[in-house]
Symmetry: C2
Subunit: 158 residues, 2 copies
Amino acid sequence: MYQKDWREMVDEVNSFRRILVAVDGSEQSTKGLDVAISLAMKYNSSVTALYVAYVPFNETSDPNHTVYKQLLDDIDKQVRKWLVEIERKGLENNIKVETRIAETNKSIPYKIASYAESNKFDLIVIGSKGRSNIEKLYLGSVAFGVLTYASCPVLVVR
Amino acid sequence: MYQKDWREMVDEVNSFRRILVAVDGSEQSTKGLDVAISLAMKYNSSVTALYVAYVPFNETSDPNHTVYKQLLDDIDKQVRKWLVEIERKGLENNIKVETRIAETNKSIPYKIASYAESNKFDLIVIGSKGRSNIEKLYLGSVAFGVLTYASCPVLVVR
């Protein structure tokens, strides 16, 4: 009886119910998605794939300016393509993967971490390097930043 | 049929068969152990808990010197106590957790990462801060070092 209760406790404490996977179209973020889907199969989790776009707007910029509108449209166009692929990959594995695009004119890793916190995710999955993929670098600046800002567990994939 | 094959593929790719959890007796490393046990339940993994002791020996030190012997004995005595607890916690959850002590006179995170690599672990679980537990620090130097040196995925718990 004691044993059973204990087991349930460990299971309860460590359930990854809400998984956020940071995606940027890189090979490593595809691996991250695979890991997130695999974990979701085991833990019955919901998965959200988040792409954060850096946009050079600030408080004084007019978001309706043609240049900015064009930039956002371009990002959307590029990113939508692989977000659809991500949703499809989830469906093929019977996991509903929601996709989100967020913008920031500050720090991408901070945006990922704060998105996770405000939406109560309990795991962030991220590639160690992402699109920069600098060979000499074992831990990219985005992954490092997410690890620095996040208040929940972070799984760094390679 | 296609769907089923695909699902098996994702599952295969992301199986965490051999999990290494870095332990140092801190509260965060206890959380790490819980996460490792939970994952082992889901993925049918083997779990090894590794404690790396820093010892101020070098190539010219005589390991048979009384001072060093005393130091190693002291470490062993202190660490054995909670390694036994770790094994017990595994057993209560029907997971065999092996425990290991390793020494280094160089870098603890490097030792953890190279231990994982040479023993073909496919996931390292580590607490974000460990025993130093400096409040202002969100990512401790040991976790950061392991993330830097490791060639496999790393799960940082909080």
